[in-house]
């Protein structure tokens, strides 16, 4: 059995919070914290951080990062507009960025993230998050070479939201995929922020296309989810199958003329409810709304 080297560092010993460092593969580690998972790539040039959790968790997350490297954070990538993925941007850069102003960390996100944050009616509490993003992209993939490794950022249109990105660390062979994939809970289809069930499935199928499993469908490319344990391609398959099957059931019920209330009463996710956390009704309702939304 192949298992990772368990050089697990307990940052909680310092801060009284549950923050853990888990080496994944190559130059990439996963930091498990109260806001979900942060991906970190370290090397001589500095540090890449994917998803920064919340401002409140930043001291603990930074303490965890410092067990891996004392170099400055020079790249931050946000996989979505969610506050628990980018709320720690400013705080982490303040704590771990370069003291040289010319080396200010670049904060990468799809342009739809910024569009959502500055749209009329956007929450004032997110002004800081909007200000932190200084390197939006619209052509996928955006890529750069850092620490000798190609880092490729792919846009996943209309999935969890309309601004989702997944990040491939090509030499380390690790994907950091944000909330497109949450192995222990139902995905959040944020229809109000441009998410859709078909976009989510397209994104999951793209992850499966990019991941290469090791012998007998184990290991190979590792996949760091937005929340939950470290995974590989086989785990994404189970999750993709779940979303596909529930989507098909809801679609069939819509074809039979059932209303949203009738669909929810039919409990089309009931054989998955014991396995995945989160509200089945919220998930089913999002699928229903996504499938019945008028095409523009």
């Amino acid at each position: 059995m192949r298992y990772l080297t368990f050089a697990i560092v307990c940052a909680s010993c310092l801060w009284g919070q549950d923050v853990h460092v888990f080496p994944v593969q190559g130059n990439v580690s996963m930091i498990v914290g109260p806001g979900g998972n942060t991906t970190v790539q370290v090397g001589k040039e500095g540090i890449v951080v994917v998803d920064t959790q919340t401002a409140a968790a930043a001291p603990q997350v930074m303490a965890a990062i410092r067990t891996l490297s004392d170099r400055p954070i020079l790249w931050v990538i946000n996989t979505s507009v969610d506050a628990d993925h980018m709320g720690g941007n400013e705080a982490l850069i303040r704590l771990g960025g370069s003291t040289d102003a010319s080396e200010r960390a670049r904060v990468v996100a799809h342009e739809n993230v910024l569009n959502r944050l500055v749209a009329p009616g956007a929450a004032q509490t997110r002004v800081g998050d909007a200000a932190s993003v200084n390197d939006t992209y619209f052509r996928s993939p955006k890529d750069f070479l850092f620490n000798g490794e190609p880092v490729m950022v792919y846009h996943m249109p209309a999935a969890h939201t309309d601004g989702d990105s997944i990040v491939l660390f090509r030499r380390s062979d690790v994907l950091s995929v944000g909330d497109l994939f949450t192995p222990d809970r139902y995905p959040v289809l944020d229809v109000a922020n441009g998410g859709s069930v078909q976009g989510l499935l397209d994104g999951l199928n793209k992850i499966l296309e990019m991941a290469v499993a090791g012998k007998y469908q184990e290991g190979g490319t590792f996949v760091i989810p937005g929340h939950g344990r470290l995974c590989d391609e086989a785990d994404v398959v189970e999750f993709r199958d779940m979303v596909t099957i529930i989507r098909d059931r809801v679609q069939d019920m819509i074809k039979k003329g059932m209303t949203l209330d009738q669909v929810k009463a039919g409990k089309p996710s009931r054989d998955y409810d014991t396995q995945y956390k989160g509200s089945p009704d919220v998930f089913v309702e999002a699928i229903y709304k996504s499938l019945t939304a008028r095409k523009l």
Binding site: L4, A213, D271
Partner: protein, 305 residues
């Protein structure tokens, strides 16, 4: 004691101490060797494979039952990632279970640190740690074989396995979740090995599932390469996942009709495991003759309809 007797006494004492020190500190049985499976238990399920819709003897909950009802065997072919998907370490003990077992010995202390196994099916290899290490944290990756540690209970080895990937309890779609804990009790009786497996799965089982499997020592056994390479086998739409919508699986009653069993009994559930359930089978009549898997004792002698 004479002067000449003293050195002899010291030598004897030293030899005795040496013998004592070379004895294992705990009860230890060596499981090393080549083991061939005996299929006298649950042979039709384990060799040709379980019938669709056969959930007998499984303490399933409703979620597991619907998951199995929805399962379509086409998924194994259409979804490429399923083509080379191995059995979990709990299920691999039941099918194509030719097994090699060997020991890891710490050269400095000569203490047993792990048993290792190699199974014919999917060349699966497992390490059962005996050095007292902890299981990985919950956020660690899961594997098909899981993470196993063991302790001696007398001459029985009790193995605890966590961090399993999602797999199946029966390979007709009955699922076993990645949250399951599997406990095994390994017992050797001369040239025979019995492993009792207990699956605790809070996701799909209402009570632990207990099964047993047996092997015989077969020193001449040669386990070959299993080998598997996935490839597109059928034209398919992108992301297609074959499954039956609830209430549409046409195969669920076959097992009931072929074996003359009440349909309700084939649906499984904890109640069906206990002798009291027989009182509910008053209308049951055995078929006049067996015509399916009647002489199933090895992989190649099962009579198919």
């Amino acid at each position: 004691m004479s002067k000449t007797a003293l050195p002899m006494f010291a030598t004897m004492l030293g030899m005795s101490l040496g013998m004592l020190l070379s004895m294992p500190a705990f009860a230890q049985v060596d499981f090393s060797g080549e083991w061939a499976p005996l299929y006298h238990e649950d042979a039709p399920e384990r060799l040709p494979g379980p019938e669709l819709g056969d959930y007998t003897e499984l303490p399933l909950n409703d979620a597991a039952r619907l998951r199995a009802d929805s399962w379509d065997a086409d998924r194994i072919s259409v979804v490429e990632q399923y083509q080379c998907r191995p059995h979990g370490s709990d299920y691999s003990m039941r099918g194509l279970g030719n097994m090699r077992v060997w020991r890891d010995i710490d050269p400095a202390t000569q203490r047993l640190t792990a048993f290792r196994t190699h199974m014919l099916a999917w060349d699966s290899e497992r390490t059962i740690y005996m050095d007292g290490r902890a299981h990985p944290p919950e956020y660690a990756n899961h594997t098909w074989q899981g993470f196993s540690t063991a302790v001696w209970e007398g001459n029985m080895l009790t193995v605890t396995t966590t961090h399993l990937k999602e797999n199946y309890i029966r390979r007709n779609g009955v699922p076993r979740s990645d949250q399951a804990t599997v406990t095994e009790h390994w017992m050797r009786h001369g040239d025979y090995l019995t492993v009792v497996t207990v699956i605790d799965d809070p996701v799909f089982l209402t009570e632990p599932l207990v099964r047993s499997d047996n092997w015989y020592l077969d020193p001449g056994q040669h386990i070959g390469i299993f080998g598997c390479e996935h490839a597109p086998e059928l034209p398919k739409a992108e992301g297609a996942v074959p499954h039956h919508l609830p209430g549409t699986n046409p195969f669920l009653r076959e097992v009931s009709e072929w074996y003359g069993l009440p349909y309700e009994a084939t649906r499984g559930g904890a109640e069906t495991l206990y002798p009291e359930y027989r009182q509910k089978l008053t209308g049951y009549k055995a078929p006049p003759k067996c015509d399916r898997y009647c002489t199933c004792t090895t992989l190649f002698d099962c009579n198919l309809r």
